[in-house]
Symmetry: C2
Subunit: 343 residues, 2 copies
């Protein structure tokens, strides 16, 4: 028999805080709530994500360790998009009894590894049972100075749109996983790359901090719903339009190869594919040369992909054929009630 | 068709922040994360609770509004037990499509009402779909001065144990609900009181703050797992023993009547019943007269129920027959893996 409190004690062992944070954690896992010191002059950044089995993840395609990693990255990426440092995490689980205890330990090990890399301490949470499916909630608390915060709402016409890393890999990786019969079946090198990008994504915390400390970006958002959807979110929050040049979207060689084998373009994946956890950010004209210098020096991995325009100009793409088309794809959005109803 | 983003917009409307907090919320619902100012010299208190349908609540016995209220109180009570002020809430939902949108609006209305009463702003969250059951996660952030924090670990031998309000009502109320065929069937006045205590509990935020500001308690915990279990938690964290006098347990007349009709004692309900959300706290001998004066003046509704002893003396109860018995009931604890396994 293993009880909730035995599990909590084990999770405490699995989640030692980063050395520098320990003196700031006045009470961690095991009290009614965590007690944390925050430096004066800082703002607190808070985000939460709930991952539901068979909606956000499929245990046939992901190991528990990878799932823990992905849960952490989904949250860390939100903190990265605000330009903040990720400091404290709270984890709540509802676990069906069909999942053996060692798998929950692996889940935590995956979260702890991703959090540790980000300098983040897991300081509390809640553990309980679920009737059938696994549910994971992580809340992440970050901090930064007030003037550093990157909101979605600061983009202005004339700003240049950038994106970090490459887009669309994660979606392609998920497709490959779904088509395979087992996780262990043989994989080509480029398929392996795409799968890895889906299962073990990276949060762009270093890039977010760089933009925040130097105040280079007017707005930022992490790409979790697909570029098309997140361009729309950023533009709606900033009350602006945008023109995205599809010829400039950063895509990996592996994605180009995979997309063409599917009779698609890499831009299709880059626009619609979710869970890339790259950052989309806007840079005022006057700061463009500084961002480009960081890119040339290798300190920032990012590409210019378009321009912010006035709101009334709307949202457009410039295709490989040089033609303008309206940006229609909305990216990934959960339809909660397909038949509508009164909210 | 109602999407996630339409829901988020509606939730924004449903959760205006308390007036005083609005200037501190630099970004709320709708950005990647909430951005919050905290006063310098304060510590941050963070807690999270995940409620799973058919484990923590049964939609046959609770309305969505009541469920929202209970979700908020479960979290607010943890902040109360730390002696802090509850300031910001993040809410994550996984909603099955079988639950119509208006019920989710009611759920939020219940949370908002409880949060507003506590001076707490709902500042963000996450909404997504669930395959079948409803899952609700709330994370609550509180703050107080560092020296005010009430941890579980500060009780010392010789301290007096107190508890707020009355115990066991919630468990009795749940039993009555389970025995009734429908929520609408007729109810006696005392049954109605017990049901109300289960469905609409109160978090003891005012009492927690009073103890914290005046530094009257050496340790505190909220009673969510039942008195027996939570006495054990407090004593384990403080490395002490305790003697609980069952003749002094505060119980309502309605519970005495109900327990006797079941062939039980009210102490049985008070010891084992969970979700009372009262506070259990320890008071050093030298501060006892100040606490008793607050109780007499009506500013603090609490009762002395026992003494903290040395750890090696263990945990005991003093029964109505004047006999000492070991405190064996563990209170409510989720058994996650009944057959054990390797953690």
């Amino acid at each position: 028999l293993i009880t909730e409190f035995q599990l909590i004690r084990r999770l405490q062992q699995l989640t030692p805080p980063p050395k520098g944070l320990a003196p700031l954690i006045l009470a961690g896992i095991g009290d009614d709530a965590a007690v944390l010191k925050l430096a004066p002059g800082q703002v607190l950044i808070a985000t939460t994500d709930l991952l539901a089995e068979d909606v956000h993840f499929d245990l046939r395609y992901v190991s528990f360790r990878q799932l823990g990693h992905r849960t952490a990255v989904a949250n860390l990426s939100d903190i990265a998009a605000m330009g903040a440092e990720a400091r404290y995490a709270l984890v709540a689980l509802a676990v069906p009894q069909s999942i053996p205890p060692r798998n929950i330990a692996s889940l935590y090990a995956g979260m702890q590894a991703a959090c540790r890399q980000a300098g983040t301490a897991i300081v509390g949470g809640d553990t309980s049972i679920s009737r059938d499916r696994l549910f994971i909630n992580m809340t992440l608390l970050g901090s930064c100075r007030r003037h550093e915060v990157l909101c979605r709402s600061g983009a202005r016409p004339g700003d240049v749109l950038y994106v970090t890393g490459t887009l669309g890999d994660s979606q392609a990786g998920l497709e490959i996983l779904r088509k395979r019969r087992t996780v262990r079946s043989g994989t080509s090198r480029s398929h392996g790359f795409l799968i890895q990008r889906h299962l073990m994504p990276t949060a762009r915390l270093v890039e977010g901090r760089l933009l925040a400390i130097r105040q280079l970006a007017s707005a930022a958002i992490d790409i979790s719903d697909g570029l098309a959807g997140d361009v729309r979110h950023l533009c709606e929050a900033s009350a602006v339009g945008a023109m995205v040049d599809l010829r400039r979207l950063p895509v990996s060689p592996a994605l180009v190869k995979y997309a063409s084998a599917q009779g698609m373009t890499s831009a299709d994946y880059a626009l619609a594919g979710g869970e890339d956890y790259e950052l989309l950010f806007a840079v005022p004209r006057g700061k463009k040369s500084r961002v480009d210098a960081l890119i040339r020096s290798g300190r920032l991995c990012a590409s210019a992909i378009g321009l912010i325009t006035r709101k009334r100009e709307g949202l457009w793409t410039l295709g490989t054929d040089g033609k303008r088309r309206q940006l229609t794809a909305r990216g990934y959005e959960h339809v909660l009630w397909p038949s509508g109803g009164r909210l």
